[in-house]
Symmetry: C2
């Protein structure tokens, strides 16, 4: 395997270099500036927060992604450059310009992402010096440092990669993400960068990315919040060789790889959710449509009562039923069955009694909990990942800045 082959994140695919440094945004001296560059022009696609208070870097990167082509991503942590007005907008543009000049790529081909505190102007002198310095130090093994440089309250760096044969070539999809469970809009919040050396034109890339994000980053929650800076960016540079991946089986395989990387990163975000002591997978089956399944799964996954019950090991299926009933989806309660940790606890709308509850209480002692809700209304299904709601969550979020 080549050095690229051993990398686990964004530099796993060929033709990508990355790196991270401490440019001085974070007072702690931790890494706070990341660069990712493709040696070849790459197709680009992205998904962006729908929060109305979106930062200027989100507007900027959405414009670049809409054109479908990019060469580089510059991302800083420690400061979200959000709610910073016209100055913030100028700073985003300047980050892109300086990165383009340092890397000698077109100015319109640089994506920008920021994450950190809201409402404070970026220390631009430090950021611009950092870009110059970092541009000279990028490497094909730099994915790990880049992944560390986008962390804020994350306790671990988050990377993922997969390899498969597509169209006669071995292609890789790699990625990195940050986010301690979407629980910090003020540390605004979830970023993911995916790279691939497959040759995927922008329209196809856009389509499969949307699907992959819906099943991963859009299917996790810690507390139902979205942030001002959330974005997922994907660059495909074709460096693996092979035919263009446009449709049919090749696109399906690529789509599966992209989905695997996104889900892997999304799960890592939930597992790193602040205060989390248990990982919860909500699986809704028997729904009339995928969107109905998703809404019910989300309603259960965001419910503070379900999450505190899991934390406390309480086999309180009434909370699961009430949360499902609260999703705004039509179903017949007398058709609904619920399992917790594989143990049936409600069958056709009725509780199965104390013995079942005792067994569920035992299964809740584990660290990985699956909540299954079958609506008995169809064949569609959807999953949502979340974590429990703990005293530690309150402690972290009540005392975050003070």
């Amino acid at each position: 395997m080549s050095p690229e082959g051993t990398a686990k994140g964004v530099t796993a695919p060929k033709g990508f270099r990355a790196g991270g440094i401490a440019c001085g945004i974070k007072k702690s001296g931790a890494l706070d500036l990341a660069l990712l560059v493709s040696d070849l022009p790459a197709s680009a696609a992205g998904t962006f927060t729908r929060n109305r208070f979106r930062a200027s870097c989100v507007d900027h990167s959405e414009r670049v992604a809409r054109r479908g082509r990019a060469r580089a991503v510059v991302a800083n942590s420690g400061n979200a450059n959000a709610a910073t007005g016209k100055q913030g907008k100028r700073d985003t543009a300047e980050m892109a310009r300086r990165t383009a000049a340092a890397l000698r790529v077109p100015a319109g081909d640089v994506l920008v992402a920021s994450t950190g505190v809201i409402g404070v102007p970026l220390p631009m002198a430090a950021v611009l010096d950092g870009i110059e310095e970092l541009a000279a130090r990028l490497g094909a093994a730099g994915g790990r440092r880049a992944a560390r440089a986008i962390m804020t309250t994350d306790s671990v760096a988050k990377e993922a990669a997969v390899r498969k044969r597509i169209g006669g070539a071995t292609v890789a999809v790699g990625g990195m993400a940050k986010g301690s469970g979407m629980i910090h809009p003020d540390m605004a919040t979830m970023l993911a960068f995916i790279t691939t050396d497959a040759h995927v034109p922008a329209p196809a890339l856009r389509k499969v990315l949307r699907g992959a994000v819906d099943d991963s980053f859009n299917a996790i929650t810690v507390d139902g919040e979205t942030s001002t800076n959330d974005m997922v960016l994907c660059l495909a540079n074709g460096a693996a060789g092979g035919a263009a991946v446009l449709a049919g089986r090749d696109l399906d395989v690529f789509s599966g790889m992209l989905g695997d990387v996104c889900r892997d990163l999304a799960e890592k975000i939930v597992r790193d959710g602040e205060g989390a002591s248990k990982f919860i997978r909500v699986v809704v089956t028997g729904a009339a449509s995928v969107s109905a399944a998703r809404r019910v799964a989300r309603a259960v996954a965001v419910s503070p009562l379900v999450k505190t019950a899991v934390y406390g090991g309480d086999p309180n299926w009434g909370r699961i039923a009430a949360a499902a009933g609260n999703a705004g989806v039509a179903f017949r309660p007398e058709k609904v069955s619920i399992r917790v940790g594989g143990v049936p606890i409600v069958r056709r709308g009725e509780g199965l009694g104390p013995a079942a509850e005792r067994e569920v209480a035992r299964s809740l002692r584990g660290k990985e909990i699956e909540i299954g809700v079958d609506l008995g209304a169809g064949k569609a299904r959807a999953s949502y990942f979340t974590c429990d709601l703990t005293h530690e969550y309150i402690t972290i979020n009540a005392s975050y800045r003070t």
Copy 2:
């Protein structure tokens, strides 16, 4: 003042009797069965939970309310009779029948409400004996006992009443409610019963009740959950004399009285929210429509991050902005201003700096916090009441049944 005149709750209006006893549903021996009866046939209206897992008593009472006429309400606490299948449905019907027989009123004129644990059949022998016993002991001063008999995790009984001149007569609106902040779908959850001796025909009653509930019980949240058993019932028996209140100024005055009683009860529910240490009023102004104002107010009020920040005394306006941006309502961030405790902290989308934050931090030490968000997009406004999210909330909900 008559003895009725001194009552504060559902027996404040003339021609209503009520009472409460311990019939044996609660193991603690606390009051658990309430009866409320109008001496005259009364107009009836109600609003009911939209949760799909609604209990059979909700279906029953909605049918009665739709006909617009009622004589009595029977309500038990300690058991929600929800997710109890066909047996639960039969038990609801039997409660109505037995109450009608004991009070000698038409069987179709009895409303039924239950609140308590989900998934456990009602101890019907105890309930039916209780109905017989209680029917013989109702009184015009029994509102207080009835209010106590519908409590579950509530720490205080919740009553309200107002009096005014309408159409040549002094009319009263009284009410009682239970709910420890909508945070217990498993203790399913929020009930309110409003009485009036005004003569208000059912169509007018329905209309003004809907408006009053939207501005009160539908404008409070502890954690965004709804329950299987929520309902608000209103009985108007005309015992005060005076002309029928149908429209115009009379209806406006009555509507205002109903609104005052509903808001008073709703505030009492939030103040009794479990684990709550602070009362939060979110006031959204400058919205393009009332529904937009309400959605933004709700998004801020349900945000765990806003609620933990208030708990921790953290002037973290980024969380307020991000929650508002997450409401699915279109507005321009650069027009938004935010105040906390009356202190401006964001003006036209930009933070006002450390001095403003210090002042806000001081105001957060109080027990009553007002968060003001002006969207700069119109003239509509709406309020939402909530409480902070505390360690105590987690403790209560993690260990509730175990």
